[in-house]
Every structure is written in C-alpha cells, then in structure tokens.
Amino acid sequence: MPHLDAAYNLARWLTRDVHDAEDVVQDACVRALRYLASLQGSDARAWLLTIVRNAFYDWLARNRPAEVVQVGDDAMEAIVDVAAVDPQQAALRSAETRALADAVAELPLQFREVLVLREIEGLSYKEIAQVAGIPMGTVMSRLARARALLQRSPMLRAIGGGGGVATRSVR
C-alpha cells in the first residue's frame, strides 16, 4: 500500500502512541479505501495525509477530549512562552536532559503537525497548506513558531544563544 509509512508516521507524531496511531491510520485507510488503488505520486500522499489528519481530529474529539488539556497544562509549559513559565520550574526543566525528539513531541499540536510534515515528511509549504487546511502564510508562521519553541527549549538553548550548535555536535 503506497504511503502507509507516511500515514503511520504522521499519526504516530500526532497521537504520540503506538496503538492510537494504528487506530487512526486504520480509520483513515477505511475512509480512503475507495481511492486507495489510485493513490500514486506525491499528490496522493498529501491527500492521504489529509485524511489521516482528519481521522486524528475526529479520534481526538471522541476519545480524549480531556487529555488534550493535560498536554496543554503540563508538558507544554516547558517550552511555551518563557514569560508565562514559572522561573523555578523552568530552571528545573533545563536541568533535565531532554532529547530533541521529546521536545518535538511536546510541541503544541498545531505547531507539531506542521513541523513533522515539513521536517520529517519533507512536504512543501503548499502541500502542508493542503493537508492542514490552512493558508500558506499560516504554514510559515506556525513553522516559525514551532522552530522558535524548539530553539528556546532548554535542551537546545545553545542554538538561540549564539550558534554554538556546530561546536556542540562536533564535541
């Protein structure tokens, strides 16, 4: 089946869970069933990803209306707006070593989805606009915000600070 990995990868980053990702992909594939045979090429990938994204939001509304919130409350605080974060908690967080992948997983949903589509799935701005149902300008601003959040995350502070990354990764 074409583009199954792309579908699975997106679902996995959106749900952040193996089993939930499988449910979402399965739902999406059943919805797409009638067209699956003609799915070839990159347009088809964007189209399938659109269905996966829709299936995910429907799943979210059905299964985890409350959990959406916990994401917001506890995980996001670590990266979101520095001004809004309790300084003591921020200090605690930065002491932890946090993998970059974790930082991506903790991005607020709307920033995570554009970042994953761009950096991991390699979609163009235009394709992301199609998949997420938003204008190109919004794609760019969300992407910029996602990156700014990553740069500000404790683990990557060196990047924002002064281009220390090159030395960092060499070391």
């Binding site: 996995r12 003609s38 917001g72 924002g160």
Partner: protein
C-alpha cells in the same frame, strides 16, 4: 532589503522555498547582516539536528498485515454494485492523462466533501463541545476573571491572539478560558457565567467558508454567531437566544472598534 523582510525569507530559504531572484537578494542581505546570517545558521543547525535525531516512524510489519486484512474485509463487505463503473474506471486509468484527471477529481471530491461536512457540522460540533465541557470537569483550564491572565494563556497555545474582555457589568462574568477543537482546528474558548448558566464563546480567525447561520438552536441549546475584524465568535449556551445575542453584540462591537 531590511531585516524584517529578510527574517521571513530566511526560513523559506532554509526550507528551499525561495524563488531564485529572492534567494539572490537574500544572499546579498545575509552577506552584510551578521544578525540575519546568524539566524540562518541557527535555523540550518536546528534543521540538521531535527532530521538527524527525530525519527520517522514506519508502520510495523504486524500492523501492515493486520491492516491489509481489515481493508480486504472492508472491500469485500462493500456492495459490489459499481461493477460497470469499475470497468470504466480502469479504462480511464489506461491513459496517463486520464489518470491525472482521476487524481485531481478525487482531490476535489474529497475536499468538497470535507468542506461541506465541516460547515454543516459546525453547529452540532459546537454544541457537543459545550455539553462535554459542561458535564466534565474540563470546563475551565485557566480560571480567572482577569482578561490579562486569560488572554496570554490562550495566545501562548494558539497562533492567534483572541480578544478577551469581561462583561461583568452587563451580567456576563468572565470566569476563564480553555482550548477546544472545532472544525479540526484548535480554538480559543472563553467561558462566561450569566446567572447560573455557562456560556461558551469560541473565538477563531474567520475561515474562508464561514458564513454559518447567524442564530439557531439545537437540542435545546442556542447558538449565536458574530464576526468582526477578521475574527469569528460562536456563542453556545442554554440561556435565552436574545441574552446570548446581547453578549455577542457587545463582543463584536468592542472588536470592531469605536
């Protein structure tokens, strides 16, 4: 080119989304501007790390097998009525041009279906969200009657900044806010209390297809919609429609400016 303009282009350059001419003028600017050069280097570095360290998940073989079985079963279940259509389908796909046309058609059909359904279901969805929030414990995520607390909390979690005002003087007391999902996008929800009733007001940037019915009621709940200054408000509650309309009018009037 100034730095504000360059900042927009830097990200697009890193993403390979610049036209050659834009790329050229950006290169000229970056050569002279250390701050923009640094931002570009920093974005490149971030991108390299993301691509090196953030995994692309692939579907596990067991899942693939299970999915294939499910889809086969679903295909077998589906009525086999459209036999002749299938023949035509295959014939269509025969030509390369027709193949493209089929993909494009599928796109349009899918998008139209998605759009149509979204518009139709918006009211139902808004009521569902309201009911779920009222029944559950998640009515309020940020509890505050202070608009200066609620607004930054919402803005930090969205890519727009919803106007937030308290109308306690008119009987609508702002009690907090939360993030919901409406129409498959995150949306800011302001929670007001009017006497003993909860009122949810969803605030979002106006959508292209917008233009939902201005006033209606559904399963005993009333919905009032308003828009101004590129934003859209959808108020849901069990209070009387005219009371709800008063609140929305106040909000819209304030947003539209003096």
């Amino acid at each position: 080119m100034n730095c504000r303009h360059a900042a927009l282009l830097v990200a697009a350059a890193v993403d390979g989304e610049l036209r050659p001419l834009q790329a050229l003028s950006l290169r000229r600017h970056v050569a002279r501007c250390p701050a923009c050069a640094q931002q570009q280097a920093s974005l490149r570095a971030l991108r390299e790390r993301v691509q090196a360290e953030v995994p692309r998940h692939t579907a596990p073989p067991e899942f693939r097998a299970r999915l294939a079985a499910t889809l086969d079963a679903a295909a077998a279940d589906a009525p086999r009525r459209p036999r002749p259509a299938e023949g035509r389908w295959r014939w269509l796909l025969g030509g390369a041009l027709a193949g493209c046309a089929a993909t494009v058609t599928a796109w349009f059909v899918a998008t139209a279906v998605i759009d149509g359904r979204a518009g139709e279901n918006l009211a139902v969805e808004a009521v569902n969200v309201h009911v779920r929030a009222t029944l559950g414990s998640q009515l309020i995520q940020v509890a505050s009657s202070d608009q200066h607390t609620v607004k930054p909390w919402l803005s930090a979690r969205l890519d727009y900044s919803p106007p937030v005002r308290d109308y306690a003087a008119d009987g609508f007391e702002l009690v907090g806010g939360r993030i919901d999902y409406l129409d498959r996008h995150p949306v800011a929800t302001l929670v007001y209390r009017y006497r003993l009733h909860n009122i949810d007001v969803f605030v979002r940037p106006q959508t292209a297809h917008g233009g939902a019915a201005p006033l209606r009621s559904l399963r005993g709940f009333n919905l009032v919609r308003g828009d101004a200054a590129d934003m859209e408000w959808i108020a849901v509650s069990d209070v009387a429609p005219d009371v709800l309309a008063t609140l929305v009018e106040r909000i819209v009037k304030d947003a539209a400016g003096p």
